[in-house]
């Protein structure tokens, strides 16, 4: 199955699901799932293929090319997998809501467009699919109305801005190298004399950075992620922002190449170093802002920005371990962030749209499976050993330390500790603590919602114990991008990269666990007691059953005195307000007095005459 077949399936699937939806809702759902699963399978069987072929000759004088290689495959499988899970999750989530047809269409379209992005063999089709993804995502973000509309607008404005920059950059490449096919371009750029201009790199970075929410281009993300429908939040956070990452990797290593990249911006500011530092900032600030969020999805959104910081940091270091870490973390983040968003979505679905962490609690009793999966996802996000997140973060730290960037490593590590705090807050405030009375009879989420969670959870643990499975693919990719390939064993790394053996760790942990459980078994079994029994000391439970997890990290908030805010966003908003004022001012030139208009005409004429006499024209 070629890349072309995959894309046709994906796009036709999106279109057909809409058409089918007009006849039967059930048929559409089944069809959407079948298409998504089919895509995963199709991509899975193309593993290891490498092909490049023209699929649209002479589009505006350019050949559009599709290609399949290791990097594309890696991203494609991630995209199709998360996309498939979100479609499955959507089954119940959107059922009975309005515009289901549109929802499925847009969701499948976004997935298809993302596949298009990663399978593009030239930058023009990359851009085309990129734009399709952007507007389709905009439609989905706006789906829930209300505040979602503002979020959608914010997203799309920034997105267009990024696209414009990207368009400039890629057409600069075209103007200078007369091709946009990635492989030719790479060859020509590398063989051409002279370096690669910084502004082009910056323009690309603006485009990609906005999509992957690199600080200070991140401000669309918290709003968009939190206001989008949850299955789509999973897609957004899991894979859509990863397209920015893909873009960075593609341009930096696939097109420009390592050798030239290290020269970009020299001698004052090395582009990749700047990227590293931006990555570090992107880890630190959002992590701490995430701590203080009360909206579950907003918290996760900020956390996404933070995790993107890790990936950017690792990409910027420009080492083979770093890149491997970045790729692995991309995969991991896709999985566990999708899991967490879906878990929040399940809670939201069951509680009728409540995402406020201060109003939830104790749901572990009603939704144990969801909690278990969310716990695994949370641990993965933190990077606890035996989850896949650990291995990728380990790679990133390792490369930072051995390459001599302790300050960057510090940012990454502190970010991890921040992650513990917000993951705990998320889990605790939703699932632990007291169960509000109105949720006492909540039922567990339907199976179609639990299944994606379980799959994600399984992947996290599997790749955590046997990281060699993904790393064998990633190691190869790193090799194709001009680095020394990373060789990993099935359970970690040999001594030349660093001591890591997750299987040993797992065995030790299991052993100790067994011993403790056995030891614990000596003692008497505890007596199950209702939660409020013990602290109310047998008295009747307090009327309001007050809940104690409001403003969980209040001391930190108090201490930082409100400085932990999204300053950038405020700056943008005020700038936007100013711009609006300017626009309104500009509008006033059309005064309504026709004589003034005549004056404008005469003025232009006068100007031309004057300019001519003055010798300007």
């Amino acid at each position: 199955m070629s890349a072309q077949g995959i894309l046709i399936t994906a796009f036709a699937g999106a279109g057909l699901s809409y058409a089918l939806g007009l006849t039967s809702a059930r048929l559409r759902e089944v069809f959407a799932i079948v298409v998504s699963v089919l895509l995963v399978c199709l991509i899975a069987i193309t593993h290891g293929q490498g092909a490049e072929h023209v699929y649209y000759p002479d589009f505006l004088g350019l050949d559009l090319v599709l290609r399949m290689d290791a990097l594309a495959w890696f991203f494609a499988i991630t995209v199709s997998m998360v996309g498939c899970l979100s479609v499955i999750f959507s089954l119940h989530y959107v059922r009975g809501k309005e515009k289901e047809n549109f929802y499925y269409f847009a969701l499948l379209l976004v997935n298809a467009a993302m596949l298009g992005i990663v399978l593009s063999g030239d930058l023009l089709s990359f851009f085309i699919f990129w734009e399709i993804m952007s507007w389709a995502a905009f439609l989905l973000i706006s789906y829930k109305r209300g505040r979602a509309l503002d979020a959608g607008l914010k997203y799309v404005i920034m997105s267009i801005l990024g696209s414009c920059a990207m368009l400039l950059a890629l057409l600069y490449l075209y103007a200078n190298y007369n091709t946009l096919v990635i492989s030719d371009l790479a060859q020509q750029i590398r063989s051409a004399a002279g370096g690669f201009p910084l502004w082009v790199m910056l323009a690309f970075a603006l485009g990609f950075g906005i999509k992957c929410a690199l600080i200070p281009l991140h401000t669309w993300l918290p709003d968009a992620h939190s206001e989008a429908p949850s299955p789509f939040s999973a897609v957004l956070s899991g894979i859509l922002i990863k397209m920015g990452i893909y873009g960075f990797i593609l341009v930096m290593y696939g097109v420009v190449g390592l050798k030239l990249l290290l020269e970009v911006g020299a001698p004052w500011l090395h582009f990749h170093t700047v990227l590293c530092w931006l990555g570090a900032i992107t880890i630190l600030i959002p992590t701490f802002i995430a701590l203080l969020q009360d909206d579950a999805k907003r918290l996760l959104a900020w956390s996404s920005i933070g995790q993107i910081g890790y990936i950017m940091l690792a990409i910027g270091v420009a080492t083979s371990l770093g890149l491997a870490g970045a790729l692995f973390h991309t995969l991991n983040h896709a999985v566990f962030k999708a899991l967490l968003f879906l878990a929040v979505g399940a809670v939201e679905y069951k509680t009728g749209g409540v995402r406020d962490l201060n109003r939830l609690g104790g749901l572990i009793r009603r939704m144990p499976v969801t909690f278990a999966c969310a716990l695994i996802g949370g641990l993965g996000l933190i990077g606890v050993p035996l989850t896949s997140g650990f291995v990728s973060k380990w790679l990133i730290y390792k490369t930072l330390i051995t390459e001599g960037h302790p300050f960057l490593a510090l940012a990454a590590l502190v970010g991890t500790w921040g992650a513990i705090l917000y993951v705990y807050k998320l889990l605790h405030n939703m699932f632990l603590g007291q169960l509000p009375e109105k949720y006492a009879n909540l039922e567990a989420a339907p199976f179609s919602m639990q299944l994606p969670l379980m799959i994600c959870g399984f992947i996290i643990v599997l790749f955590g114990i046997l990281p060699g499975i993904p790393l064998s693919v990633i190691g190869g990719i790193v090799g194709t991008l001009g680095f020394e390939p990373v060789t990993a064993t099935l359970t970690g790394f040999g001594p030349q990269i660093g001591p890591l053996n997750t299987l040993n760790l797992c065995a030790a942990f299991a052993g100790v666990l067994l011993v403790i459980v056995a030891f614990r078994g000596i003692a008497a079994r505890p007596k199950p007691v209702s939660q409020d029994d013990s602290y109310a000391a047998g008295a009747a439970a307090p009327a309001g059953k007050y809940h104690h997890t409001v403003r969980f990290y209040d001391p930190l908030e108090r201490m930082t005195g409100g400085y932990l805010r999204d300053w950038v966003d405020q700056f943008y908003l005020s700038a936007a307000g100013k711009a609006k004022g300017v626009f309104n001012g500009v509008r006033r030139i059309y005064t309504g007095d026709v004589r003034t208009y005549v004056m404008y005409i005469v003025a232009l004429l006068t100007f031309l005459i004057f300019a001519h006499t003055a010798g300007w024209l």
């Binding site: 004589r595 004056m599 005469v602 003025a603 004429l605 006068t606 005459i609 004057f610 006499t613």
Partner: protein, 239 residues
């Protein structure tokens, strides 16, 4: 403020005009001065003056230019007048002119009789002007305007008299159509739009100039009916 700015701007425009006229000689006169006026060349109409009489057998070179060499402009021009008449009707559609106190009053007998007497004479003059457009100064536009003035007189002098707008409309449509068709016949016959396909006759005779008098008649009718229509629309209810 507005005045000062306007004056300033206009001063610069005036300077621009002055700049245009300064320097090399300007216009046909200027071309003659600088000896660029070539007899049989197209510049400044020299060729029309020198060859026009032979080519179209039309004594009035201006008419020859208007209807033959630049006949296509004239078609546009007729169209514009047509547009103006229609546009006026469209804009004023449904409007009743305010009933002025004079309107209720019957015009005096002398006035209305005088008008009726004058009307055929005016018509006659108008028709004369456009029929002789290719021989003497004047032509379809001028004649049409004279005809319209006759209708204006009727409107003013005999207030109760309403013009037959259907007939006017038919006249303007048909005359316009006649113009286009005459032009198209040229295309069909000689492969060129507006071709002077009729025998051009003898110069200075009434029947000379080929299709030129025919077109001028069409234009005369058209302009007359259009201007009359405009007068009608401005003075009464527009339907």
């Amino acid at each position: 403020m507005r005045k000062q700015i306007s004056l300033l701007l206009l001063l610069i425009v005036a300077a621009g005009f002055a700049l245009c006229l300064a320097g090399a000689p300007f216009g046909a006169e200027g071309a003659r001065e600088s000896r660029r006026l070539v007899k049989d060349n197209v510049n400044y109409g020299r060729r029309y003056v020198s060859k026009g009489l032979d080519e179209n057998r039309c004594a009035n070179i201006v008419t020859s230019v208007v209807l033959n060499y630049r006949g296509f402009d004239t078609l546009g021009e007729v169209t514009i007048l047509f547009i103006a008449a229609l546009g006026l009707g469209a804009v004023l559609y449904g409007r009743r002119a305010g009933a002025s106190p004079d309107e209720a009053q019957r015009p005096s007998l002398i006035l209305s009789t005088g008008c009726r007497l004058l009307f055929p004479l005016i018509m006659l003059v108008g028709i004369y002007i456009f029929i002789h457009g290719h021989l003497s100064p004047g032509g379809g536009f001028q004649g049409g305007a004279v005809i319209a003035s006759g209708f204006l007189l009727i409107c003013l002098g005999c207030r109760k008299k309403k013009l037959n707008s259907v007939a006017l409309g038919a006249a303007e449509s048909l005359s316009g159509l006649a113009f286009v068709l005459l032009a198209l016949i040229g295309l069909a016959v000689g492969g060129s739009f507006l071709l002077n396909f009729l025998p051009t006759g003898k110069v200075y005779a009434l029947f000379s100039g080929g299709i030129i008098p025919l077109i001028y008649i069409a234009i005369g009718v058209k302009v007359g009916s259009e201007l009359s229509g405009i007068i009608d629309n401005l003075s009464g209810e527009v339907r």
